[in-house]
Symmetry: C2
C-alpha cells in the first residue's frame, strides 16, 4: 500500500504562489468548461449557529489530470470585536480527482480574495463597455483592493472613486493604491453623485441593507455585485434587477444567496429573467454586452469552480517550486511516548 | 489580529488517542443530543466522476464549547488494483464552533472505522436481545474487526461466525481475534446455515448485490447493516425490510444511500414504515426492542454526528497530551527563497 505526502501551504505560501493574472485566466477557463458541460455542477453545504457559520464549496475539474477541491470557510461576523480573531477563517482541501489522494491542505483566505477579484475581472472583460475608464469601488477592504487590481488587467482605468462607511479606510485605500497602480483614486462619500459618473461599479461590502439605488446608475454601466454571498447580505436595491441584464456566476446559487435571491423573494424578477451564467457568455453560447447603453449586473456569489481553478495553480506551482511543508497523514509509526499513550487510554 | 496554530494529527495519532470505549460513549451521547433537538441536522455533499467520488459530512455539536467537524472521504474502489493506493482516503477538519478557529486537521480513516463500529455497538445495546451470545460478521476487513470488538463491549458474546468472499481473510480474522478477544471464532461459508443460528448479524462488505435473504434470519435477531453508504451499495434483500422493525441512523440519509433506499425504490416500504432513528431510542422517545422475537434492522449509513463526536475526543486528548505537529496556516512570513518567488511569478 502506498501512502503519499500531503503538502501544507500557509496563507503566505498561497499569496506568493498565486498571481492575479494566472488566477484570472484559470477562472475564465473554469467558467467556460462548466458552460461546455465539461465540469459538473459544484456543490455547497452550510452549517450555522447563532454566532456564525461554516460553508463548504466543492468541485472537480477534469483537465489533463482531474483535480478536486473542497473549501471550508468559517464566517463569524463578531470575531474581531469579541475575540480579536479574523471574521473569515478557512482551509482548502485539494485531492487528485482520479485517485482521491490528498494532495494539499492550504489556507483558503488568499484564494477566496483572489478568485473573487478574478471573477469580477472576467465578468468586466465580457460585460463592461470596452471604453470603460471610471470605476467606483464600494468597500475598501482586501476584496476592494484586489477587485481594482483585477479590473485594471482588463480595462484601461483612469479614475477610481473609493467609498467606505469608514472614511479612514477609503483614504488609506486611495493613498496605498494610487501610487502602486498609477491611477487617480478619489475617496468620496456621495454615492449618487459619483456612481452616476462611473462606467464600472463594484460592491464588496458586508452590508445587510441595500445601498445602491437604481437612480444612481447611468446607462451603459457594468455592476459587479460581490458582497452578497449569504441570504441575509444585500447591496443593491432589488428594483435594480428589474429590466436590467442579470448575469450570474451560478444561477441556482444566486437564487439562494445572491442579489437575485432578494429580487426573487420580493417577486420583482423570476429565474427566467436571468439572462445567462457567466460561463455561457465566455463559451459564446450567449452574447454578452450588445449595446453601449445597457446596464449589466453580475451577481457574484463565489463558486467552487473558481476555488478549484485557483487551487490547481497553487498546487502545481508549489510542487514545481518545492514550496510548503509535507506531512504523511497516513504514517504508521507513533510519534509520541508510549507511556503517555498508556496513561491516556 | 490573533492567528492560532492548527494541530496536525496523523492516522497513527488518531488511533493512539481514540479508544473504542470513549468512542461508543460519545457516539451514544451525540445521537441522544440530536434526538433531543440539541444538535442541528448534519449535512452531506457528494462530488463524483467515473472513477470514484468524494463525500463530505459536516456537523456541529453544542456542548460546553461548540465543536464543528467536516469530514472529507474519497472513495475510489479500483485504487488498490490500479494504483496500489487505499480505496478510502480522507481528512477531517475540526473547528471551534463558536469562533470558526481551525483547531485541527486529522486523518479521517481511523475515525470512520471506529465511529462506525461504535454506532453498531450503541445500536446493539438498545436493539439486540440482552442475552445475545452469537454473532455473524459478514465482511472480515477492518470494519468487521472493529464491529466485533465494539459489540463485545455491550454484549457477552461467546461464539462468532466469520464470513468473507475471501476465505483467507476470514481465516486470518478468526486467528487474529479469537486469541485477542478470547472468543470462539469459526470461519464459515454457508450463510443460511450459520445466520439462522446467530443472535446478531453485522454486514460490513462493499457489496453492490444483496446477499442476506429473509429466510436466513431467525426471530429475535438484530441486524446491523453497515456496508451500504452510497446508492449503489446493498447487502440485505430489500424484502427483509418488509414487516421487520427498521431503525435508521438518520432516516433522510438512509432513504438516499442506505438499505432503506432500495426498499423505497422497490416500493416495498414507505418512509412511514421506519420505526425510529437510533437517537429517539436512546433518548427514550420511542421504545427499542419490545419482544424477544422481533427482527430489528439498524440501517447504518454513517453520520456527521458520529464524526463530530469522535473528532472532539481526539482533539481534546491531543491538546491535553501535547500530541501532534502544529502549523499556523495564517503565518505572515514567507518560508522560501525570494529569488524563487520572483522567478515563479
Amino acid at each position: 500500500m502506498k501512502y503519499t505526502d500531503t503538502l501544507l501551504l500557509t496563507r503566505k505560501n498561497v499569496a506568493d504562489l498565486l498571481s492575479l493574472e494566472e488566477c484570472i485566466n484559470a477562472v475564465e477557463e473554469a467558467f467556460k468548461l462548466y458552460a461546455e458541460g465539461k465540469v459538473q455542477p459544484p456543490k455547497i453545504l452550510g452549517v450555522h449557529n447563532h454566532k456564525g457559520g461554516f460553508h463548504i464549496k466543492a468541485g472537480l475539474i477534469e483537465k489533463q489530470t482531474p483535480f478536486f477541491a473542497a473549501k471550508m470557510n468559517a464566517n463569524f461576523p463578531n470575531n474581531m470585536k469579541d475575540h480579536g480573531l479574523p471574521t473569515i477563517q478557512g482551509i482548502l482541501i485539494a485531492s487528485d480527482g482520479g485517485t482521491g489522494q490528498l494532495l494539499a491542505l492550504m489556507d483558503s483566505i488568499e484564494i477566496t480574495i483572489l478568485r473573487t477579484g478574478a471573477a469580477t475581472a472576467v465578468a468586466a472583460k465580457y460585460l463592461s463597455r470596452p471604453d470603460s475608464k471610471t470605476v467606483a469601488i464600494c468597500g475598501c477592504g482586501n476584496q476592494g483592493r484586489v477587485s481594482l487590481k483585477a479590473l485594471m488587467k482588463v480595462r484601461s482605468i483612469e479614475k477610481v472613486f473609493a467609498f467606505d462607511t469608514d472614511s479612514v479606510r477609503a483614504d488609506k485605500f486611495a493613498k496605498d493604491l494610487s501610487g502602486e497602480l498609477k491611477v487617480t483614486i478619489e475617496p468620496v462619500t456621495d454615492l449618487e453623485q459619483n456612481l452616476s459618473h462611473s462606467d464600472i461599479v463594484v460592491t464588496c461590502t458586508p452590508s445587510k441593507l441595500p445601498f445602491i439605488k437604481p437612480e444612481y446608475i447611468r446607462p451603459g454601466t457594468f455592476i459587479a455585485a460581490v458582497g452578497a454571498d449569504s441570504e441575509e447580505k444585500q447591496e443593491l436595491y432589488s428594483e435594480l434587477l428589474i429590466s436590467n441584464k442579470i448575469i450570474t456566476d451560478l444561477t441556482e446559487q444566486c437564487a439562494t444567496i445572491g442579489e437575485l435571491h432578494h429580487a426573487l423573494v420580493n417577486g420583482q424578477v423570476t429565474i427566467s429573467d436571468v439572462y445567462a451564467e457567466l460561463g455561457e457568455i465566455i463559451a459564446g453560447k450567449k452574447e454578452g454586452r450588445i449595446s453601449g447603453s445597457e446596464v449589466i449586473i453580475f451577481d457574484s456569489t463565489g463558486t467552487a469552480l473558481q476555488d478549484v481553478a485557483a487551487a490547481a495553480i497553487v498546487y502545481e506551482k508549489a510542487v514545481s517550486g518545492g514550496i510548503g511543508k509535507k506531512l504523511n497523514f497516513s504514517e504508521q509509526e507513533s510519534n509520541y511516548n508510549p507511556a503517555i499513550k498508556k496513561k491516556m487510554k
